[in-house]
Point group: C2
Chain length 224, copies 2
């Protein structure tokens, strides 16, 4: 079998484009011309269109008919709606995780937080929320909730959008230590099977995260 599978030209494209967008190599608002991308990946425009449509469905790319695709730019209202929805989804995720958590998964959660604590001790500067450590924690909980639909919605749509949103505002989020503390409390509640507490703490955790970001949004404006 050749290393290049047939029906997956756009699959590789989509992954690499996604990476470029999330790491900021292609910046919010930047044009995504089909011909340019086709040349760059040495492929025709067909697969490029597929990949762009897929990224548009994931909310990372905005699409205007007859105009083209750009890396999505979040308005302030977009950001608010995103965090509000996230708070709703994740607080229920935490609730269900607390009810349904198996012993294995719960232990993987504490192990994860152990790694995070080390990571913070090693880099006191406090870039905890970078490197996807924060996302890891939330994804584990989303999996523990045992609802595939919810899991995919969070992991494939909301979290990438959040990453792009933070990138757009060069968000550094200095609350690394505080966030870790909140994570630990949420984990405790889940392990103890206290579903109401887990849901409440998760909601507050995300609201706090929103408040931190919202403050930074005051300065840097977002054009429509």
């Amino acid at each position: 079998m050749s290393s290049i599978e047939h029906g997956s030209a756009w699959s590789a494209l989509e992954a690499e484009l996604r990476e470029d967008i999330l790491t900021g190599r292609i910046r919010p608002g930047e044009r995504l011309g089909e011909v340019a991308l086709a040349e760059r990946f040495a492929v025709s425009r067909g697969p490029v269109r597929d990949a762009l449509r897929k990224l548009a469905a994931a909310g990372l790319v905005s699409f205007l008919p007859n105009i083209g695709a750009r890396v999505r730019v979040f308005s302030r209202e977009d950001a608010r709606a995103l965090y509000e929805l996230r708070a709703a989804l994740e607080s229920d995720a935490a609730r269900w995780a607390a009810r349904r958590a198996g012993q294995e998964r719960a232990s993987s959660l504490v192990q994860l937080l152990g790694q995070h604590a080390e990571s913070i001790a090693a880099h006191p500067a406090g870039a905890y929320l970078q490197n996807g450590k924060d996302a890891d924690f939330h994804i584990v909980i989303a999996e523990m909730a045992q609802n595939p639909l919810l899991r995919n919605l969070l992991a494939d749509e909301l979290y990438p959008q959040l990453a792009l949103l933070r990138r757009q505002h060069r968000n550094v989020d200095g609350r690394g230590r505080v966030a870790l503390r909140e994570h630990e409390n949420i984990a405790d509640a889940i392990i103890n099977g206290d579903d109401e507490l887990a849901a409440l703490l998760m909601r507050r955790h995300i609201e706090a995260s929103w408040n931190a970001l919202s403050g930074q949004l005051e300065a840097g404006d977002t054009e429509k």
Copy 2:
């Protein structure tokens, strides 16, 4: 301007295909061959692919690389996850609607329920949940919540999937009168600004809806 706009061949396709799927003209599990659809709509395979990708993103069509597209078939687990997620989203929608409802919107809600009551009186057979009357009610609340992301998620993804799911199991749902009563109670809570009550009633309303469907699912099996 001509009645046929250029950059929207697939847009019309998508709408008509969606209609065919939701009305059951094309049934769950049925193949959606690109050439057949291209001939039917007198268009090439390109726009057909676009439309199918869009419907796949909306969860109405399942897609296997190198194999093709079929109308989605929901497993029992899919259905459970769908209703569970819906309960979470809509109970928050009701909560926010109660907090943020403007007077105009609230009155449109009571007006809507008035029409529904007439509809039930006229057709006591009780097909209340058909004809999209039920969906209308829930969409109005989703709009009242004033979160565009949530609104689109519900109106463009979850509700179509629910409609397809019900179609798959020929669900008739005899609880028309009961459902209307529940709707009225939810509307009252929203109008009174009682957000906690609205959220609770909505959650129970959807759980009751799930229980009704879940019972019918016992008989008719769903293949993977």
